[in-house]
Symmetry: C2
């Protein structure tokens, strides 16, 4: 399902990260980074909620607005029952739409927000996501201190929060369209190979988007997937080449960009809702404003597993949502 927009702009973004992201190749593109994972809080969950709340407050500061000026907050994270979002929202006091798409959440948020802004149902919307490495490890696998080994196909949950302010006020970055994906289940069960789990969903949504918009793959300067990682990216490319004879040279993956895969202990790359959001709101938008990119398709991907479903040996479905951005003329 693809929506087209004429009057939706990203007026501002904010990005706040943890230490691994600050030391990564895109470190200089973030607004703020913490040097430890507790960020002055008692628990990982509270640290993540603080990140999310701070990212919204920073965004408001950059926009010279107050919480009362915001019509709607659309937010999601990886935590059970979106607890990071909930506590942040309880302090922010902005009407809240809580959403979950795992690591695809940022594009889901933007789609919902853009839909409402386009039709003037709201005058503005803030779209936010967060994730936290230690909180995610504790929730989905084991606490990091457990020291459990992982295979090379595993990914490393990004610690950070990223927010975007949307409105009809014209700015450099226009949201051109959004494609809401379908859940794809390829009977995969390997919770340590999220790239393989999500690549089919990314392919599905990319092809749906191109068909719905009647565009060639070459229309975009960059098609950026969320967190397929080193191996998932190759699986996606291989599939698009073999199945559709497509030239995939403009496809890259934020999981492979947000960290130095050679030097940082991040296995196959980043993951978590913050991965593509930090990359996009920090780096990609910067490149667009500098004229180095003009039309970009952001393809966030989510693996829809839970601790219970993995323990019960169920398959891992995936979903992907896409947003196309272009430099405003």
């Amino acid at each position: 399902m693809t929506f087209k927009y004429k009057n939706v702009y990203i007026n501002e973004t904010s990005t706040i990260t943890g230490p691994f992201e600050a030391k990564g190749p895109l470190g200089r593109y973030y607004d703020k980074s913490y040097h430890d994972l507790y960020m002055g809080q008692k628990t990982w969950e509270q640290a993540e909620s603080k990140l999310l709340e701070e990212s919204v407050e920073l965004l408001l500061t950059k926009m010279d607005k107050s919480k009362q000026d915001i019509d709607i907050l659309i937010s999601g994270d990886l935590s059970n029952q979106l607890s990071s979002t909930n506590f942040a929202a309880s302090h922010l006091s902005i009407p809240l739409i809580g959403v979950y798409g795992a690591c695809s959440t940022s594009c889901l948020n933007l789609a919902i927000g853009a839909n409402m802004v386009e039709k003037k149902q709201v005058k503005n919307a803030i779209c936010s996501v967060s994730s936290h490495n230690s909180a995610a490890e504790k929730q989905f696998r084991q606490p990091v201190e457990y020291g459990g080994p992982k295979p090379k196909t595993a990914t490393f949950t990004t610690t950070g929060a990223a927010s975007a302010y949307l409105s009809q006020v014209v700015s450099d970055i226009k949201i051109d369209s959004a494609t809401i994906g379908r859940v794809i289940d390829m009977d995969m069960k390997d919770a340590f190979h999220m790239g393989a789990v999500m690549a089919p969903a990314a392919a599905e949504t990319i092809m749906t988007h191109l068909r719905d918009t009647n565009r060639l793959i070459s229309y975009y300067d960059l098609i950026l997937t969320g967190d397929l990682g080193k191996y998932g990216k190759e699986i996606l490319k291989g599939y698009l080449i073999s199945e559709y004879a497509l030239d995939t040279k403009n496809i890259d993956d934020s999981a492979c960009m947000i960290y130095d895969l050679e030097k940082q202990p991040v296995y196959a790359g980043g993951s978590g809702p913050a991965c593509i959001a930090l990359t996009t709101y920090g780096y990609i938008i910067d490149q667009m404003k500098k004229g180095k990119l003009n039309k970009v398709l952001i393809v966030a991907t989510g693996a829809l597993l839970s601790q219970a479903t993995v323990n019960e040996k169920m398959t891992i479905p995936a979903i992907s949502h896409a947003i196309s951005l272009e430099v405003s003329k």
Copy 2:
């Protein structure tokens, strides 16, 4: 934040429940009920996912439509990472927006769907929720077999799934407006008194709705809260009386209607996203079609706790979203 609609209708609904709900006062209003909680599946989670999937399929049958005819599915449930929704959606193959508002999810879904239908961004939308007593107990507290005692203020998670089909095709039931709530945290920590946790959020959203629509409380024949339960309902009424001098005689609560609180072992009443959805889509809409109710405000309420936040002794925030329905003239 309140949205007003001119052209959004609920064309059809479907309701499928577990055994406790079938034996409750509204049993005859549901489309289908199961006599056990496994429903032919191996796990509680799979049973809940099956319920959700079946409720959508039943809705399609009632509408004489196929999955390919549906533009968007907006769904949420109580399970970690919305696993019930995800597996159901993987079989349904309809573009999915996954949302989470705990027991407020049904009104959140309807608001998102109504927004898109009103502005013709989609021609139709299916809004679904589910919950399952045994799955919820296992996830939030302990497996039922543990036999842990509970205080009388505890509520009983409803087992069921409910879906609604929305479009601009005129039918008996019109969606008149939607109010998206804010997260309210009153520093409550009692995970066995959800009524007290959620009543403030319900009050907040009711008052916001009335102010935004410029309506008196008496405008509505019925204001139906989600699952405040026996004690939460009295807390809400007491607050509205003492704080706003309001006549609360038209306020009732689905948690108190869906079960026989005297005869069934359900403590203070029902809970879970399915509670208000089953009551509304099964019973309330039936009463509206029969002319016994004309204007109804559905006020779904959610307690935003997780197992981790309770274990870490954090407070329990709450949220409430509202939908006003009226008989179409």
